[in-house]
Amino acid sequence: MRAEASVVIIGGGIIGTAIAFYLCKKGMKDVVLVEKSYLSSGSTGRCGGGIRQQWSERMNVRLAMRSVKLFERFEEEIGMDIEYYQGGYLLLAYTDEEVELFHKNVAMQQEEGLDVRLLSKEETKEKFPFMNLEGLKLATFCPTDGHANPHLATMAYAKAAEKMGAMILTHTEVTDIDVQSGQIKGVLTTKGYIKTSVVVNAAGGFSREVGLMAGVELPTESYRHQIFVTEPLEHILDPLVISFVNNFYIRQTKSGNFIMGQGDKDEPPSHKHDPSWKFLTEMTEKMPHFFPFLKEVRVLRHWAGLYNMSPDAQPIIDKSDKLSDFYFAIGFSGHGFMLAPAVGEAMADWIIYGSPEEVDISNLKMERFSKGVSREKNVV
């Protein structure tokens, strides 16, 4: 094990590995990534893999658009097929408020240069005849949205970073961060001490706990989110479909399985990973209404992962003002996978050059919480 590192990244999910990749790519030497279990064992390996640019907050749109640019050249740049597929995202509006919000969103998204359009109920029916669109008022569709395989993406970043000299330590847990008079000196792991002056907290569901190791209070909390997959069917559904009021998202994987989930408003904060039967009954009751063919389809596997939530459901990408060189990229709620390429790139730039180059992430700093919270509305 390397006893000294220029940067130690805590967390081997998509965020940590993306940062490692971009740090190495931009010439950083001696990068060490520490993961307590296996790569993508956290939220990343449990997530839906959706990649969307249709957000209500401008910052999220920009970050996601930048990520899509990077996903589009992922295979070429990193050399691995991660099952990236641009089948679009279809967002369904059922209430007047949603109609109003979607109009506003589309205008803002188009201003940002996104190819997104409004679809009437009839247009939607024509495109997706197998859906029951009863009660639908309007939909929006962005053809460049899509999905990819999160596990493969994580492995691709990790392997590429390793090739460029990074050290990836799996099954190694960071147990403490050594801070002396406002300076990071190193991290203590279950496999020994690593000397470093720069630490990146990319610990996903455990971001708050890792922050506390350095004595930094981070306003994040983790919540269980459940998801399940069906047996494979013929390919019929190209886009990922979301309804916010009906609280669901659904997509079909490359192998034909349907993956779907919902948010649970009553879920208390926890680190629980066990699925509940209640979730499965609610979903199986709800979904065949919108996709009638699902009734006879069989559920194969059901699991849960953590949403790491910030007060406004947007990520926190910042550097501590209390001690030197403690960075964090956390609080990604349900959309950390899709933002990872842009976040990885921005963090690497920030660490190496002192500021992010490609996208402006200034709005994602902690200081925003002192100004009052404008919550991202397009979330499940």
Partner: protein, 609 residues
């Protein structure tokens, strides 16, 4: 049933026996089974059983089931629910899928007894996914339960008790068993069972293995060949059998996924068949409201399954009522001890030992000189396992330091003085009985180096991965070769590193290569080669492999492929299989329709949840 105190999953001998005890105490029990008929493995067995008189020895299997059911049917407070599968154990309840109506019911019992038995192990050979290749259990179910013959001509793979019994049953039903093949050099099952099939003219071909199944759409034949002492195919010995069915009977592994979902810890214990629930002498798992009994807690016999079921049942009663018939409980525990004290239970005893459950052996010892492992622990030294009086003394004469004494009578057993011994290892290379093993424990690493006198070809090299075999020939796992000492005209000693707890057991190695084209996972059609390639790419965790290859993600939920993939992983990475994380067992246990789940009726809730 809307309310129950104890939910018993599995209606084999273990589950039925548990139900009787719970029922007798006046508590409400529900026994759920996937099958049309209750009785588990018993209903398929038309032969007379071995075991304890009191537990229906010499009664036929299906009749034992009938006797247990008769007793249960007389109880109003015990309900039987056939054709129903428990599809998961969730934090908020236990859903039961009733297959004929495709509906689910959620129960929240106070106690759970998991008696789900075992599933068959699967063998890797070319074309093993052709229709006509069956597990022995499937053949039994078809034949004895549904009266359907699997084919006309059968090749049986495996001469353990199951292979022998199923062959016999096939012959009884008029199906021709062309041969039973067995890779090792002796019959695995009881002599009496072997004699039974021999009397019928079925050849048992020792040192034979199957190479491939023949046929395009279905099995039309099989190619078998002889293997040498190191289990490698001897070229030129291949021969074809014209058969329409290949029946695989290579052992069972416990179906413990529900225990894991319920929060009970599993441990890999190969003597007990694979991953088994950690549990105490009252059959309580590490999840305090969850009990196990029968094959799910370790592959054994119907007798022990029934006794364990009774213990589990009485333990539930004790939990819920505060008291139980302690005398009965003691009696059953005593019966288990008595049953397991014999020579045929040595494997089970060893397995249970690893769970800190000790069952004393009661055997007449022939000659008392047991190797003392405790003396000089940690020092590199020979362990002499030669306690029979034979006329032999090379150990004495070969030792340059005079540490081994046979004495005047050449029939004496050797006695070693570890004070004089330097650990040079010469004796191990000289002993003609291959009875001297080198050993050095490394407590801090939790491993031990074992030097094994090895007279097979090929001789492995330092750094190679080999299978470590126990005294009884069972695979203890995969071990790394740390040193090879070749001495001219004497035995090569291969040093391997094994987990400390295996050091006294591992006495042989096997150098084998799995056929790269053989199927590991039937759902995703993955071969050994696919898995090996992924491991070489750096996917060295089961969960990583699963996500990379989609192994264990198919409809079978990993029942067939998980263990195979772990074996390959262990062999490739050199990590003993018991140290590998078997990954998560995600519900539902079987694919369940939206319709069935959404219609889920909510059963009674208990105060304890």
């Amino acid at each position: 049933m809307t309310e129950c105190d104890v939910l018993i999953i599995g209606g084999g001998p273990a589950g039925l026996a548990a139900g009787i005890e719970v029922g007798k105490a006046g508590l409400k029990a529900l026994i759920v089974d996937e099958g049309v008929r209750f009785g588990g493995q018993l209903v398929k067995q038309t032969h007379k059983f071995f075991g304890n008189e009191e537990f229906y020895a010499s009664v036929r299997g299906f009749e034992i089931a009938e006797k247990l059911l008769e007793e249960l049917r007389a109880m109003d407070n015990v309900e039987l629910m056939p054709e129903s599968t428990v599809i998961g154990v969730y934090e908020d309840g236990v859903p039961i899928l009733h297959r004929p109506s495709d509906t689910t019911t959620l129960l929240r019992p106070k106690r759970l007894v998991i008696a789900t038995g075992a599933s068959e192990k699967f063998l890797q050979f070319e074309n093993n996914d052709l229709p006509g290749v069956y597990g022995a259990g499937a053949v039994q179910t078809l034949m004895n339960q549904f009266g359907i013959m699997p084919g006309e001509n059968v090749l049986m793979i495996g001469s353990g008790n199951i292979g022998l019994i199923v062959s016999y049953q096939l012959m009884q039903a008029g199906v021709n068993v062309k041969a039973i093949i067995e890779a090792s050099n002796r019959v695995g099952g009881y002599q009496v069972h072997a004699n039974k099939v021999r009397r019928l003219g079925v050849p048992i071909l020792l040192r034979h293995t199957i190479i491939r199944a023949l046929g395009k759409e279905e099995v039309q034949g099989a190619v078998i060949a002889q293997v040498n002492d190191s289990w490698e195919v001897i070229p030129g010995t291949e021969r074809e059998f014209v058969v329409d069915t290949i029946c695989v009977a290579v052992g069972l592994s416990p179906s413990a996924e529900l225990v894991s979902q319920a929060g009970g810890r599993l441990q890999f214990i190969s003597e007990l068949g694979g991953y088994v629930p950690v549990r105490d002498e009252n059959m309580r798992t590490t999840a305090s409201n969850v009990f196990v009994a029968g094959d799910v807690s370790g592959i054994e016999e119907a007798t022990t399954a029934m006794v364990e079921g009774r213990i589990a049942g009485l333990s539930c009663v004790k939990d819920l009522k505060g008291i139980t018939d302690e005398k009965r409980l003691k009696k059953f525990q005593e019966q288990l001890r008595a049953f397991r004290s014999g020579p045929t239970s040595s494997k089970v005893r060893k397995g249970l030992e690893k769970l800190n459950l000790s069952f004393p052996e009661k055997l007449p010892r022939e000659t008392a000189v047991e190797p003392s492992y405790e003396a000089y622990k940690g020092k590199l030294r020979p362990i002499i396992e030669c306690s029979e009086a034979i006329p032999c003394n090379p150990c004495e004469t070969s030792c340059p330091f005079g540490a081994i004494t046979i004495g005047e009578n050449i029939n004496n057993v050797p006695v070693i003085d570890y004070e004089k011994c330097t650990g040079c290892g010469i004796c191990a290379t000289k002993c003609p009985g291959l009875a001297i093993f080198m050993m050095q424990e490394k407590e801090e690493k939790g491993t031990a180096t074992v030097g094994i006198p090895y007279e097979f070809l090929p001789i492995p090299s330092k750094g190679d991965q080999v299978y470590a075999l126990r005294k009884d020939g069972s695979v203890a796992g995969v071990a790394k070769v740390t040193k090879v000492v070749k001495a001219p005209n004497s035995t090569t000693v291969v040093y391997i590193e094994v987990p400390l707890e295996e050091a006294r057991e591992v006495r042989h190695i096997k150098v084998v290569e799995m056929k790269p084209e053989a199927i590991v996972c039937r759902c995703e059609e993955l071969t050994v080669e696919d898995v090996e390639k992924a491991i070489e790419e750096g996917y060295t965790d089961f969960e990583e492999l699963r996500r990379r290859l989609r192994i264990a993600m198919g409809p079978c939920g990993g029942r067939t492929c998980r263990l195979n993939a772990l074996m390959i992983l262990s062999r490739k990475t050199g990590t003993p299989i018991e140290k590998l994380d078997p990954g998560t067992f995600r519900p539902p246990v079987i694919p369940t329709t939206f319709k069935a789940v959404s219609k889920s009726a909510k059963g009674g809730e208990s105060s304890e949840g």
